[in-house]
């Protein structure tokens, strides 16, 4: 059946990624509006058990493209297979996650299909002509653009993870599962040699998504432990930084320094603990997407840059933060 709405269900280590559920939840209304089926497509081998729950999240059908050669992800291989399926089934819409894999794969699939694609969308919707009309950020989020793909098919888009809410699970709802034995992709010219696991402690400041930084008010090197504790509960992608004064005082090594003469960082969340916010520090973290400041001195310049501030003793605030975040993460 043509004109279906497809979502690409990414999986890792035998588990579906949360993005698959998000995409299903977000695309369900598109399929409803278009009066068509919502199909989840997944590639690999031995995936039956994994895809069972997709029905409960809104999939009418699941297509499993199976081949031993698809066991691990490779852009060229996956693109051949996914484009082949799309050519065969002619879906109207093909959505994927803007994850490392989705960002890698989808443009190549679009190229194979000669169609257009919108990257990293933060909103998916249909316009008056029932065309997919996603909204995506540009200029690092400083502008938004709405676009559509009037002619070429399928209409492709990748959607930023964590943007679409996962709909409540509908227990008992089952999707039709269609297992397709696909040909082994050929002419790959690429080999996946290995996957090097990322160790938590090696997250570089410049790569971190959450940074907790300590200043001179940390008072001693040992006290940085409370920041590391907080980082620990935030999970992977989180690390601890320091101000120049903290580094100069010997509380932290030089490679932890954030600022003009240290590292320039750009995390999603930056928590400045006991940092006054001198220009040399601000220069290194002012482009962080969200800034939290904890400082005893209400006049500290950091508060002018912060989205949220707490005027108070960091030694009282930080442990509570750790406790609360831990609770929150336990619920997730």
């Amino acid at each position: 059946m043509a004109n279906e709405v497809w979502i690409y269900a990414e999986h890792k280590d035998g588990k579906l990624k949360k993005s698959a559920l998000e995409l299903l939840s977000g695309a369900r209304s598109l399929a409803n509006d278009l009066g068509t089926q919502l199909v989840a497509v997944t590639l690999g081998c031995g995936l039956e058990a994994m895809v069972k729950e997709l029905g409960a999240y809104g999939a009418d059908k699941v297509i499993i493209a199976e081949n031993e050669a698809l066991k691990s992800y490779l852009a060229v291989a996956y693109a051949q297979t996914l484009a082949g399926l799309a050519k065969q089934h002619q879906p109207a819409i093909l959505l994927g996650p803007a994850s490392a894999q989705g960002k890698d794969l989808f443009p190549r699939v679009a190229a194979k299909l000669g169609t257009g694609m919108a990257s990293d969308c933060i909103k998916i919707q249909l316009d008056g002509q029932k065309l997919l009309s996603p909204v995506r950020p540009m200029y690092a989020g400083k502008a938004l653009v709405e676009a559509n793909i009037p002619e070429a098919r399928p209409q492709m888009a990748t959607v930023r993870p964590n943007v679409l809410a996962v709909a409540p699970k509908q227990e008992g709802k089952q999707a039709q599962i269609e297992k397709v034995a696909v040909e082994a992709p050929k002419d790959l010219k690429t080999i996946l040699k290995e996957i090097v696991k990322g160790a938590k402690e090696t997250v570089d400041l410049t790569e971190a998504t959450i940074i907790i930084s300590g200043g001179r008010a940390m008072k001693a090197a040992d006290n940085f432990k409370i920041l590391w504790d907080l980082a620990e509960v935030f999970g992977s992608g989180t690390t601890v930084g320091a101000s120049r004064a903290a580094v100069d005082s010997g509380f932290a090594p030089a490679d932890m320094q954030v600022g003009q003469t240290g590292k320039v960082v750009n995390p999603t969340l930056y928590i400045a603990c006991g940092i006054s916010g001198a220009i040399q520090h601000l220069a290194g973290m002012r482009t962080s997407k969200f800034i939290v400041a904890i400082n005893k001195d209400a006049d500290a310049p950091i508060f002018q840059k912060a989205d949220y501030g707490i005027v108070g003793d960091l030694f009282k605030v930080v442990p509570v933060l750790t406790e609360e975040v831990k609770k929150l993460k336990a619920q997730d």
Partner: protein, 265 residues
């Protein structure tokens, strides 16, 4: 090795973006145009390979208006050997597909052994052109690479690709391939202004619609598959606020706000 670097001129990251009255695009007055930061890593990596492999050449290829010449010259001043500017009014308004199509047309006869580029341009943030070009040229791709090793015979590249959670995929691709640089691949070198002036004497080729033998319908806005409907500005960021209360209470409130309002936790 014959190395090509795909480079784009983009507005500086500090640019205040303003939208045209008719929402058809951004206002380009008063913008400081710079080399796309990820492309700087690509240029640098190309130069490092060139320095290691005798007889290598590096060409900078950029599609964009005439002003892009300045940025190509920055690449030449860094040490690249030649530049290709792809400029034609017909190319304006292209989406990634239409852009890649023109690039592929330019690249095909050049027979580069290796193509390098940035993982994305920081203006449209699409991150699609490298993969699309790779597909159109029928060559492999390695995106988001933070470490690159070219084999001694110049036939293969080992690429460390960053994926989620700090993990890295180690890919071995046959060359020619497109390899897209991530931050951290290297530390790009500085091109001083006199060096940029001096680079005026390096060869710079300009190509356009007719020299490429393309039709106006298949490129630019007309050839775009993804059509822009309108640009807008995001809602203003809320002004900073102090979470009131005793430190412990404020901390509890803060976590709640981070989850519910800011959605960053």
């Amino acid at each position: 090795m014959k190395i090509g670097v795909l480079m784009k001129q983009v507005p500086d990251t500090e640019t205040k973006i303003r939208i045209k009255d008719d929402a058809s695009g951004i206002v380009t007055d008063g913008i400081k145009w710079v080399m796309n930061p990820y492309d700087e890593y690509a240029v640098e990596e190309a130069l490092r390979i060139k320095e290691k492999k005798a007889g290598s050449t590096v060409a900078i290829i950029s599609m964009g208006p005439k002003r892009s010449v300045e940025t190509i010259r920055t690449g030449l001043a860094m040490g690249a050997d030649s530049g290709i500017l792809i400029d034609d009014p017909a190319f304006e308004g292209a989406d990634c597909y239409a852009t890649a199509k023109v690039l592929a047309k330019v690249l095909e006869p050049e027979k580069f052994d290796l193509l390098l580029c940035g993982k994305q341009a920081i203006d449209d943030d699409s991150a699609q052109v490298p993969q699309t070009v790779a597909e159109l040229l029928g060559i492999p791709q390695a995106m988001v690479i933070e470490k690159l090793i070219i084999s001694d015979d110049g036939k293969k590249a080992t690429c460390y690709r960053r994926v989620e959670g700090g993990a890295k995929e180690v890919l071995e691709v046959e060359l020619p391939a497109i390899i897209a640089a991530e931050k951290g691949l290297n530390e790009p070198r500085y091109a001083s202004l006199p060096g940029i002036m001096k680079a005026k004497s390096k060869p710079m080729k300009e190509v356009n619609l007719s020299t490429l033998g393309l039709k106006a319908e298949e490129v630019g806005a007309k050839g775009a598959k993804l059509k822009v409907k309108k640009y807008s500005l995001p809602a203003d960021k809320a002004p900073g606020k102090i979470v009131p209360g005793e430190p412990e209470d404020a901390a509890r409130a803060l976590v709640k706000m981070l989850r519910e309002e800011a959605k960053v936790v």
